[in-house]
Amino acid sequence: MSALTSRMQSIRLQRLTGQILALILLTVGAIVVMIPLVWMVSTSLKSRSTSTEFPPKWIPMDAAKAEIDGRDYFIYRIPVNGEMRDLALLRKLGPQGTFVNPENPDEQYQLEVQTGERLYTVNLHWENYPNAMTEVPFGTYIKNSLTFVGVSTVGVLLSCTLVAYGFARFRARGLGVLFLILLSTIMLPSQVTLIPQFVLFRKLGWYDTLLPLLVPAFFANAWDVFLLRQFFMSIPLEMDEAARIDGCGPLGNLWHIILPQSFPALTTVAIFHSLWAWNEFFLPLIYLQTRERFTVSIGLQQFNSLYGRNLPGLMAASAVTLLPTVIIFFLAQRLFIQGVVISGIKG
């Protein structure tokens, strides 16, 4: 008996040390994972000159300056006769510098510059955000992206619901084979159909419009049809029968029985598709030519190649682009995790 309790004790101890070790590793990993995002936000609030400092400061700070006779001078914290003072550096001659009390410019000292340290004050440059948004027509990009997200999500929900309902609840000759074909298109790399689609949409005059991004959404896609069909099939058939006895047709059944119970699945589809559309880069890249038609993703790419030197602006624009995703992620995390586990990662 005592042998067993000591064995249980050692197991408990083992588990505890394991947990502590796990916590340490997880903390280190979490810091590493979060650093790029924190750095992005921090850099987006810096001035242009401090943004490229090495080593970087986490809190956006600017060198403190004092205005003396209409000119700005850096402030140093420097010992004067054993007492720390904040003085402005007026002139530098070799290692020596002329320091002056900003409040009283007549009070001057000759000190060794190296003994002091330049003073920094926290300064959050929020103006980087509106500046970045106006440097390129970011508002227009956001409007276009929202059109893309909104219209194509409606298209996907409409078409995929109908198609999934057809595959889930109806029997007809050939339907099984068609479902297999649908499933196999999940594996199909989009590149195989991309080039003729491009030629076709060009011929239709859709080049440099949002139409190539919007219209295909209304013709259903394999992933979402599959996900919705699986969900519809989990709804008991008895309810359909009850509805039919009450005089519901196929569409009435979809509207009154299936849809009200399918909100989790529909939300999952809507969220995944919205995120995909918001982030999509390739299709806008090949179809959109004029700046006024750009979506956020290619607008940001253009910002990156044109104004790459404006690091705070670039990071501000990136942060704005990432923000909706992050918000949706936090709001719908549970759906995300379920969605990923059910269907794998889309796109």
Binding site: A22, Y165, G166, A317
Partner: protein, 308 residues
């Protein structure tokens, strides 16, 4: 009243035909889309692979020239293939090990599971150009944070995206940032393993490592398998990061297959050659997933399956 009902029925379709009609009406959006946006374009692009076409001049059939050029005269084709395969051979196993390790840590009943899961999972959800733009600066040799972190250990970091030797490793490191997506799937797999198995093994005196290799690993192989298939297909579609961060350079060091396909099709307007590359991509994806599937019986364990 009754007679009207009967007459209606006789005039209309039989019940099963009515059902079939509704089925086809309901799936018609996909059916039309399939013909219009998938099957039709597939046939067309198959024809394109034997043609020269640049949108301006009429299409000209040139037989097997595209294919011959690809395999025998185009060094960049082989190069882009090598880049893509190098990336998958390093990034996929590394991501697998790291994702599984994270999932195991989270499964060790640590406090604050949801917080950890959120932190690790988020990077794999945020995606696209913004992330590429961000990492482009993270790898900056002068003020980027990667080289800053290396400097803590007294290492002078390389030029990363500006160096032909380090650009691809940089993109591999970046890919590990999104390891949380795999982690979530592994975690779900781990949580479905009955704890009684571990308890029984522990009572029998199995060490932690033995429990991992004899219980966890075999039971999680279907999930690993699934992730592997998704990952292989994914690397052949790898585009945004390579386009935004390096545009294939320097010295073609990050010329991924999909980027090369894009360059040929939309930059050089060689739509025929681009189509050939696309079709080869399809074949490669089919062959590789086929290989993984065929090898799966040797290493993937499905519960309820009888081993011979």
């Amino acid at each position: 009243m009754a007679t009207i009902g009967v007459r209606k029925k006789r005039r209309g379709l039989s019940l099963s035909r009515r059902e079939a009609m509704w089925a086809y009406i309901l799936i018609s959006p996909w059916l039309i889309g399939f013909v219009w946006l998938t099957a039709g374009p597939m046939i067309t692009s198959a024809v394109f692979t034997f043609a020269e076409y640049d949108l301006l001049n009429p299409l000209r059939l040139i037989g097997l020239q595209n294919w011959r050029y690809m395999f025998t005269q185009d060094p960049l084709f082989w190069h882009s293939l090598r880049v893509t395969l190098t990336f998958s051979v390093v990034a996929l196993p590394a991501g697998l090990v790291l994702g599984l390790a994270l999932a195991l840590l989270l499964n060790a009943k640590v406090p604050g599971l949801t917080i950890w899961r959120t932190v690790y999972y988020m990077p794999s959800v945020v995606a696209g150009v913004a992330v590429a733009v961000l990492w482009n600066q993270v790898f900056n040799p002068r003020f980027g944070i990667i080289n800053w972190m290396l400097s803590w250990f007294g290492i002078r970091g390389p030029g990363w995206l500006q160096s032909p030797d380090w650009a691809l490793p940089a993109l591999i490191i970046m890919s590990l940032w999104g390891v949380g997506g795999g982690m979530i799937i592994y975690l779900a797999g781990l949580q479905s393993i009955p704890t009684t198995l571990y308890e029984a093994a522990t009572i029998d005196g199995a060490t932690m490592w033995q429990r991992f290799t004899h219980i966890t690993l075999p039971l999680i192989t279907p999930v690993i398998f699934y992730n592997l298939v998704i990952g292989i297909i994914g690397t052949f579609q790898y585009f945004t990061n390579a386009f935004v961060m390096t545009n294939g350079g320097p010295a073609n060091a990050t010329l991924f297959y999909n980027l090369y396909l894009y360059n040929n099709t939309f930059r050089y307007q060689r739509l025929g050659y681009g189509s050939a590359l696309a079709w080869l991509l399809l074949f490669m994806v089919l062959i590789m997933t086929g290989l993984v599937f065929r090898s799966s019986s040797a290493w993937v364990y499905y519960e309820g399956e009888l081993r011979k």
